[in-house]
Symmetry: C2
Subunit: 188 residues, 2 copies
DNA sequence: AATATTTTATACCGATAGGTATATACAAAA
DNA sequence: TTTTGTATATACCTATCGGTATAAAATATT
């Protein structure tokens, strides 16, 4: 990938999170990235396409980071779900955390027919399925149900952190997750 | 309140939720409301002021509805928290539900210094305190902690419903809430 | 009925939105 | 060294943004 395309993606990601997507013009992006609109539109057909690529990259980066964290922990796969919120907490509390892309995007593009909204919805669903897989490996009976509940805690905590940075919401989300996981295990 | 001001507020509320706040221009609002910009700017100094009044009214309406529901149920105040998510479910599943204003607004105005963001943050905090009061009346020890957890479920479910209408997330949020409430009561 | 006052409608303001036509700078290939 | 193709920069397009000056219409007062 071109170094400039990468720079544009990086800058756009930051600006979208700190100023909002619709409030960030392409002129601002290229100015901060130190390039021009012609260059931007060479790599991205439209602003919508840029938004979509930003969202995809953000989610991929997070998933990769999370996968590695979970795998570096050499425990049995069945135990991964127990550590999920520890890593989520680490991620949320890291200085690099600037929010969850698909949460913000779905708010700015509420129309369910919109391509960006559809992608956000898909990413949310995929993350839930990822949790569900962890739950299944932990032999939890209602894996999908637990995954949905944990994803609500995750999205709620991300939301809370967006409203007030350093809210500490994730700490309580983690506690709630433990209660729900333990309860689900008992019934399995 | 003037009938036209009321109409503008109503139309703006709907458009903000269905199209997004930043994506809805004042021209569109007055066109749908059947009036003109001069009239709008007579009642609201700026678009920001209109947004703020829309947010305040939305939250007041929801709180009033919820209060009445909780009070019409003639149970002891200590039991109200047990029914909280039943009413939230009713509200979310009603056809009138179009989302939670402060959640969307905080996503569109991420800057913590922004007046709209500050209001969103305040409303989220106030709702959490409302839940905390219910928890205290139910003699729950860590009322604030439980309230925070329940608010995460609430905001997560609202988020999920925003991503995919009719997701059924609220049903599982309700189940999770029951587990957390029962657990908190046991420790009190 | 004539005047005074408020409300509404039209037309416009500069700034910025996303996007592009054209020209120039710069490589690599010949 | 000249040619050829690609990447970059400048300038500009139309549409729309939030907001307003001004004039017409409607209402109230005398």
């Amino acid at each position: 990938m071109s170094v400039l395309k990468d720079k544009i993606l990086l800058v756009a990601t930051d600006l979208f999170h700190t100023r909002g997507i619709n409030s960030t013009g392409v002129d601002t992006i290229v100015a901060v990235a130190g390039t021009t609109k012609m260059t931007l539109y060479k790599y991205f057909n439209t602003k919508e396409q840029l938004i979509i690529e930003v969202l995809k990259k953000s989610q991929q980066d997070f998933q990769s980071w999370l996968d590695e964290k979970l795998n570096s922990n050499t425990k049995k796969p069945a135990d991964k779900i127990q550590y999920l919120f520890d890593y989520i907490e680490e991620w949320v509390n890291s200085s690099a955390f600037i929010g969850v892309g698909f949460i913000k995007a779905s708010a700015e593009f509420p129309n369910e027919e919109n391509a960006i909204h559809k992608l956000s919805s898909l990413q949310s669903r995929e993350f839930r399925q990822f949790i569900s897989k962890l739950a299944m490996e932990a032999n939890i009976k209602d894996a999908d149900g637990l995954a949905l509940q944990l994803s609500l805690l995750f999205e709620g905590a991300a939301q809370a952190e967006q409203m007030k940075r350093g809210s500490g919401a994730i700490k309580y989300a983690k506690k709630a997750a433990k209660i729900l996981i333990d309860g689900a295990i008992k019934q399995s």
